[in-house]
């Protein structure tokens, strides 16, 4: 093992070529993640023909760095423009953007970057320590029933974390779930809610929906201001831009964004236990194929609200929500490689590409990959850790570049964002229908936003609606229709109990309050 580790260090960390690949892919990944509509999956798919010609370690370096950076970079437009770059970021969009509106933009960006980087390292450590052990457990315990409850849990958390009353969150969730029903249902082999329109067969793609619900609705909200002078730029950081940098060294540091980037560190250190909890949740959920970073971020923010000192801030501008969600999503990423490496079961389209590339390199994923291909596996571990500092530097530059957006007058910025939203929505599938979805969702988000109904649960509803229904029906078909099947396996019973409690608890609390109100 030690010789394999040494070999991996030599292959992965001591080669200038690998470092070059890491730097280039981190820039590319950050760019792709930060532009709304360009996703990590698309970023990976576009480089497949290139990485195919590389050796295993450099090609893995490219993929590891690029996915980690793209996943982080989704936080940048999330806080700046209220457009989540990835669905995982949507779990705390209103918090991150709310804080930016309050003039704490640099702090949010710094917390996102640091939490993402540390989350990545944590996830990588889990991958190193427990991969073969956990992969076996995950593969043998998680059948369709357990997945059903996991999706229920994720959706419940989306309702719990949303601002204001749970009822409004529930309304948003139901809208999202209904939207997910549109199109051809594969379990029924039948088209639903398509009103005879062939375009609706493909269903509602969540990326244009996300761009519309958050980005376009924000543009509309700004445009709705009665006077043009209301389109004021976002308030500048108190003390950040006003104070002139006097010495040369200070000027360089401020230009590189070092000071701004590290200002979230004290906060994260104070929150270290929350950070550990969120990253663990991220790593555990990330390991389950098909669950991934999205559910991880939502569940982690949901739990975070339960333990928070200021739960009322959630959904409006809670730094803790941002930190916990951001850490969980990046911790989920390395963990998603566990089932991919051990059983060649891809958790998402990115790991599917990874498996494909590994097979092309004659590295066959499987339980014996730790013995037969040890240098490659250790190399991947090391790369996940080596990526973190690169991510910090690239993130710093990206935040610096993004700050320009905060200083651009909104009357220029809003039309430009709209064009980016349109381009991104179109580029996903090359389909005008997706642009239509973006526009329609923008209007929906705008109307709901004015009634204080959150958009986050709609997104998660669109993503998880189809698998939720499929898992429900699969469970019933495999047992022949008994509802007891949902509690028939130990893990299913446990997850089901948690989910039911999540919904019954607020009801019980409410009834008790009512009774107390009656008696007094």
């Amino acid at each position: 093992m030690n010789s394999a580790l040494l070999q991996a260090v030599e292959l992965a960390l001591l080669s200038p070529y690998v470092w070059l690949v890491i730097v280039v892919s981190s820039l590319y990944g950050t760019f792709m993640g930060a532009i709304p509509g360009l996703t990590a999956t698309m970023a990976v798919a576009l480089v497949v023909p290139i990485v195919y010609f590389m050796d295993p370690i450099p090609s893995m370096a490219a993929l590891v760095t690029l996915t980690a950076c793209a996943l982080y970079a989704g936080d940048i437009p999330n806080a700046l423009l209220r457009i989540p770059g990835t669905p995982a970021s949507a779990a705390y969009t209103d918090d991150a953007f709310g804080l930016t509106q309050q003039g704490k933009g640099d702090l949010v960006q710094s917390v996102c970057l640091l939490a993402s980087a540390f989350g990545s390292i944590f996830g990588a450590l889990v991958l190193i320590a427990l991969a073969p052990f956990l992969a076996g457990i995950a593969a043998r315990t998680f059948s369709v029933v357990e997945y059903f409850w996991l999706y229920v849990l994720g959706l419940s958390c989306a309702v719990v974390v949303s601002r204001g009353s749970m009822l409004r969150g529930l309304l948003a969730l139901v809208i999202g779930l209904l939207l997910s029903m549109v199109g051809l249902s594969s379990v029924h082999a039948e088209a639903r809610l398509t009103f005879g329109r062939p375009e609706l067969y493909q269903g509602i793609n969540f990326i244009p929906a996300m761009i519309g619900l958050f980005g376009v609705s924000e543009i509309l909200r700004n445009m709705f201001a009665p006077r043009l002078s209301d389109l004021a730029p976002v308030p500048e950081e108190a003390g950040a831009a006003g104070v002139a940098d006097t010495t040369w060294r200070q000027r360089v540091a401020s230009a590189a964004g070092a000071k701004a980037t590290t200002q979230g560190l004290p906060f994260l250190l104070r929150q270290r236990w929350h950070f550990l909890r969120s990253s663990s949740i991220g790593a555990i959920i990330g390991m389950l194929p098909g669950a991934g970073a999205d559910i991880a971020a939502w569940v982690s923010v949901g739990l975070s609200k339960r333990f928070a000192r200021h739960p009322e801030e959630f959904g409006r501008g809670s730094l803790q929500a941002v930190a916990d969600g951001s850490a969980a999503k990046n911790a989920a990423l390395p963990a998603a490689w566990i089932p991919a490496l051990v059983f060649a079961i891809p958790g998402d389209s990115i790991t599917a590409i990874v498996i494909g590339i590994l097979m092309m390199k004659n590295v066959t994923p499987g339980p014996d990959i730790f013995t037969t291909q040890a240098p490659v596996v250790y190399g991947i571990y090391l790369l996940f850790i080596a990526t973190a500092p690169v991510l910090l530097v690239t993130g710093m530059l990206a935040i610096r570049a993004g700050a320009v957006i905060r200083r651009t007058p909104k009357r220029i910025l809003l039309p430009v964002i709209l064009v980016f939203c349109i381009t991104g929505s179109y580029a996903i599938n090359g389909s005008p229908f997706d642009v239509f979805v973006m526009g329609a969702m923008g209007l929906l988000g705008f109307v709901l936003d004015r009634r204080d109904v959150p958009s986050g649960p709609i997104i998660l509803g669109i993503i998880l609606g189809t698998p939720l229904e499929e898992r429900f029906i699969q469970t019933l078909t495999s047992t022949g229709g008994g509802l007891l099947a949902f509690f028939g396996r130990p893990m299913a019973a446990m997850l089901g109990l948690i989910a039911v409690t999540l919904w019954v608890m607020p009801l019980v609390l409410w009834m008790r309050e009512r009774r107390r109100a009656w008696s007094t």
């Binding site: 209301d230 500048e236 059983f343 220029i412 709209l418 179109y426 005008p432 022949g480």
Partner: protein
Amino acid sequence: MPDAGCRTPNAGRQTPGVARRARWLLHKTARRAVPALVALLLVSSMAGCGGGRDAFPNQPVVLICPWAAGGGTDRVARQLAVSLEGELGVPVNVINATGASGVTGHTRGALARGDGYTLTLITAELNMLHWRGLTPITPADFQPLALLNRDPAAIFVRKDAPWQTLADLDAHVLANPRALKASGTALGGIWHVALVGWLTQIGAPADGVRWISIEGTAPSLQELMAGGIDIVASSLPEARSLLDAGEIRALGVMADTRVAQFPDVLTMKEQGVDVAIGVWRGVGVPAETDPDAAAYLARALERAVTGSDFREFMRQAGFNWDYQGPQEFTATLAGLDRRFGTILGSEAFADLGKGVVGPRVFPAVLVTIGLLTLGVLLGTRQLGRTGGLDTFSWHGAARVAAVLGAVAFYLVAGESLGFVITTFAILLALMRLLEVRWPVALLVSVLVVATIYQVFANVLRVPLPRGVFGW
């Protein structure tokens, strides 16, 4: 404040005299330079938009992949694009038109302009979807140009399953109808058809093994490992890792001869069950494509597909490479289509989708919950308007309408005017609406459109509407 467009917040902090002078200088230069700069940038933004040569092909070719990025078909498409680019001398861009079990991509490919610039990576579902009434598109809507590969179906069980050979499983299924559960794809998908083909051959009823509809081979294999189902039907390469690890066993492959890369897996024929079903991937163009362009593409495809790079990729990725030219492939497709018609027309698939939970149940439950929630919210007056920007104004409403109008304009005009003109018009109009001054609005519009176009269309090669001018 008419000049807010070019003012930065920092400008106010400088001494007033310097600021005024700087602004005056900016105005003076801007007024002269902007038109020239705009013209220059417009020209440069078109750079790389093709159009030097007259002969086919002289602009980028699109390859539609009906399946998601990252899947097996997507990988084949992207590798083929690389090889084909070398033959055609123009970029070949892969577009993932996914959704609806392949209906979306095949439909878009079949209905594309017949100019030879849109190819489709057609897959086995082309033979199946129209028999199930999901699309009017049939193989006749395509001109098949090249077959790329064929992967036969195989049957897998867990390592601790009691059945050592196919005969053991046959006997169990015949003795205990509907006791076992299987998956591999959604209901009525290719592997389901394969399983029914096997059941029919051994004389079992078509629903002798219950099919659990799980979309995708990977989640089906996960379900097999977790003990939720007993059998998985899929291709051999998709299950390779678990097979090599000894976690699962292959009982038979539905081909006439053994698959070269899996010499130990017996064919079903060897075990007395005569069935051969599998997936295939190929390339087609719309049926009424210009014959010269189609012939040119077919020759380029033959060189690309039979080239050593592509063959080596297919071998390493575990796909069973199998090339056929246009004539042979057309005949193969027609034969397969008849065979799938017989299987999918049988009574086994007649009541497809009539499961325990009908297609209307979930939407109905959701509508009920939604209406209840809405009722409570309205009843308790919780849905009032909030937020600071509450006051309604016609100006505000007009601006909202303008944004939505811009999206509508893109939908109506994008495909005919092309990306550059459409987005330029949108940017300029909206900025003028927000009273950004002409020079600034022009400059920003040109810069933004040029940058997006260059990055998206030329560097990343993601699809943008091309329009009549090609940009």
